[in-house]
Amino acid sequence: MEKMVDVYFFGKKYQVPESLTIMSAMEYAGYTLKRGCGCRHGFCGACATIYRIKGKNELKTCLACQTQVEDGMYVASIPFFPTDKRTYEIGELRPNQQVMMELYPEIYSCIGCNACTKACTQNLNVMQYIAYAQRGELEKCAEESFDCIGCGCCSLRCPAGISHPMVGVLARRLTGKYLAPEAKHLNQRVEEIHAGAYDELIEQIMQKPIEEMQELYNHREIEK
């Protein structure tokens, strides 16, 4: 018999196997999840969760799908967090410090408490990427925030009311669109295709009988 632990979902006690994640433990306890459950593999940020271990005062944040249960865990999942996303037309923005000032001025109210970084379920240096955004260093902000899954735990803990994941998205889009160097070979290939340069080749290959395609496929040269 597997070892069981006591966990408390929304204050109510359940006995669950200790090997389970918080998410599967809730299902073991009988919950049918609607909110607070998305990809189940740590990529979507749907299952932001707060917990405290009985007898300890530290309040922790985690993803329910990526965190194993512990004995005496008091758990509350966060069904929704009102992140404050500003809307914009990406084509009309310019990648500079001014953009951040206009769209997310609250980042300048950061008091440097580092609660965002401590709350990050991906172990990102959140306060650092906000600092980069403040200084208009968008590429650095984009790089530092790249692994953000938008669970919102940082914003939940922020005394300045910053919506950190949204700042990261803006920095990444500006970087991807304006600051990263253009892929010339890509643009050239798009033009060639639009000009019809591959129409004949593709028609030819589509018309070939299956036997000929098999021959071509089985003996095609593979780039090293």
């Binding site: 998305g38 998205v169 990444r172 890509l186 593709i202 030819q204 095609r220």
Partner: protein, 533 residues
């Protein structure tokens, strides 16, 4: 973290690593692949399938679990809905908030249509978000769309619909450019050249990536764009049935508020099914790399309305799902791990295949190693083979793993497994639905007017097996096309009186065939809750 028995095997892997690194394993011949698949691929296990009893694909086989849903009735038979009260009235209704749905909505909005997204979870809760490895496009000098076509056609066992595959490869560079211009951060060299690698079955290095968050980076950018455009997104609301008009054309959908249980009626001039895959049906009891909502809902809605399925009997098992520890059982270990140089190694430290064969061949080969050949590594929860990840650091230099596949490093580190220093254990996981609803080149179904399909819910783009990086590509290419086509079509549609008579006709057919599962479909969410009574 590994058991003592596993640690013993790790020692054998470590001892063989230097020699293994020098190997260039032979690729299998066409005949070898063929007999391997027939003997070990789950698609060839007869007991995993049933015969479809009614509808356009009657007499063909389908995975048992999907068959059960196809042979179940609409929940609206017991729960009638008043179609006279219209809650939403739009030009284009997009069902599904993943990559295909979001791309479609953006293009429909761009074309001036009044478009709405409905999704049973949140926008972005989709397999797109979890796609790690990359997206293919033939944009390098040594490559061409025709070469891409050949790789995909052969990899899919020469079964792809040529018209669909042509669009996929010819519109691929355009799709990458569109994403790049929306602000997706692709991995690039300092001069802007895309960093591209191989995937299983590619003959050119055409896999573009955003570290190993490729799908996430694409999805969060598309989501941001949808929100910027103020396209209405109705979340936690599923589509439970298509609505037709008296002329048999699709005219909207009945929606279900997942939280309150209330039904809603959405009238639409065109409807795009972009509901994704079916991993959460756990065919043949496989674990899955799919998101929580992957329950084939769109296939059920479409089939009940009269749209034929294509290749519904071909499923993709991703060769490398996490096999240990139990907490991440079935989670995707991106193919990019092999693109970067990690080899598949058995319990004795032997390389048993070329790591970049196509996914179906690779999965079957791993299953053979763990069954017939008895060379799998035993764990407390099953079996698997090693993916020798420290090879990546030896080939690419220290730090390669952290830079190129940070999500993988993080996922295993959570359980104290440092993949830079020790191998990780993998076994095939249910990953992708190769088949789906049949469409024409424009994205419309061939049988029902005003209805389009995009993304994983489509069958025929990839044939009977899909290559890595062609799914992120297909959701963008076919999502965008569907959005444009739906918006254009909506301009000329005049809808008649709304009706659900097709679900009664379907029920009648089921009854005649003697089928009564006593369940309702679509499933909407998997039944994971354990109840003692």
């Amino acid at each position: 973290m590994y058991t003592p028995e596993m640690q013993e095997s790790v020692k054998r892997v470590e001892a063989a690593r230097a020699d293994n690194l020098k190997l260039e394993p032979r690729r299998m011949t066409a005949e070898e692949k063929d007999s391997l698949l027939k003997a070990f691929h789950p698609d060839y296990r007869q007991d995993g399938f049933v015969e479809i009893k009614i509808g356009p694909n009657a007499g063909q086989k389908v995975p048992t679990e999907l068959g059960h849903l196809l042979h179940s009735n609409s929940r609206l038979l017991q729960d009638p809905v008043d179609l006279g009260k219209i809650d939403y009235d739009v030009d284009v209704l997009v069902i599904g908030g993943g990559g295909a749905g979001a791309s479609a909505a953006i293009e429909a909005n761009e074309a001036g249509a009044d478009v709405m997204i409905v999704t049973k979870l949140r926008i972005g809760d989709a397999n797109t978000m979890m796609a790690e490895g990359g997206i293919q496009a033939a944009d390098k000098e040594n490559d061409s769309p025709a070469q891409h076509y050949l790789d995909a056609f052969g990899g899919g066992h020469f079964a792809a619909r040529p018209e669909l595959l042509r669009r996929l490869v010819m519109e691929a560079p355009d799709a990458i450019q569109w994403l790049n211009r929306l602000g997706v951060m692709f991995d690039k060299e300092a001069d802007g050249t895309m960093i591209t690698t191989h995937g299983g079955g590619t003959s050119r290095k055409r896999m573009h990536a955003c570290k190993d968050y490729s799908g996430a980076e694409i999805m969060r950018t598309l989501r941001d764009e949808v929100l910027n455009r103020k396209i209405p997104v109705v979340e936690f609301t599923s589509a439970v049935e298509l609505i037709k008009d008296e002329n048999g054309r699709v005219a909207g959908a009945v929606l279900l508020n997942m939280e309150t249980g209330d039904y809603l009626v959405a009238r639409a001039k065109t409807v795009i099914i972009a509901t994704g895959g079916a991993g959460r049906l756990h065919y043949q009891n496989f674990p899955t790399s799919n998101h929580y909502g992957a329950t084939a809902d769109g296939l059920i809605l479409g089939y009940r309305a009269g749209v034929p399925l294509l290749y519904q009997d071909t499923i993709q098992y991703h060769p490398t799902g996490a096999a240990f520890p139990s907490q991440i059982f079935g989670a995707l270990v991106t193919e990019k791990v092999r693109s970067l140089g990690a080899m598949l190694v058995n319990a004795d430290g032997e390389v048993f295949m070329h790591p970049l064969e196509t996914r179906d061949v690779c999965a079957a080969s791993i299953i053979r190693e763990c069954t017939a050949r008895e060379k799998g590594v035993q764990t407390p929860i099953g079996t698997g083979v090693w993916l020798d990840t420290p090879m990546i650091e030896q080939l690419g230099g220290a730090g390669t793993i952290e830079k190129r596949i940070p999500a993988m490093l993080r996922m295993f580190m959570n359980y104290d497994i440092d993949m830079r220093k020790e191998p990780i254990l993998v076994y095939p996981t249910l990953h992708y639905q190769n088949g789906g609803l049949e469409i024409n080149g424009e994205g419309f179904t061939k049988t029902i007017d005003n209805l389009l399909v995009a993304g994983e819910a489509v069958g025929g783009i990839h044939g009977r097996n899909r290559l890595m990086g062609n799914s992120l590509l297909d959701i963008i290419v076919f999502g965008r096309n569907a959005g444009k086509a739906a918006a254009a079509k909506a301009k000329e549609v005049q809808l008649g009186t709304l009706t659900l008579s097709h679900i009664e006709a379907y029920a009648e057919e089921l009854k005649k065939a003697g089928e009564n599962t006593e369940d309702v479909s679509p499933l909407l969410l998997p039944n994971y809750a354990r109840h003692e009574r």
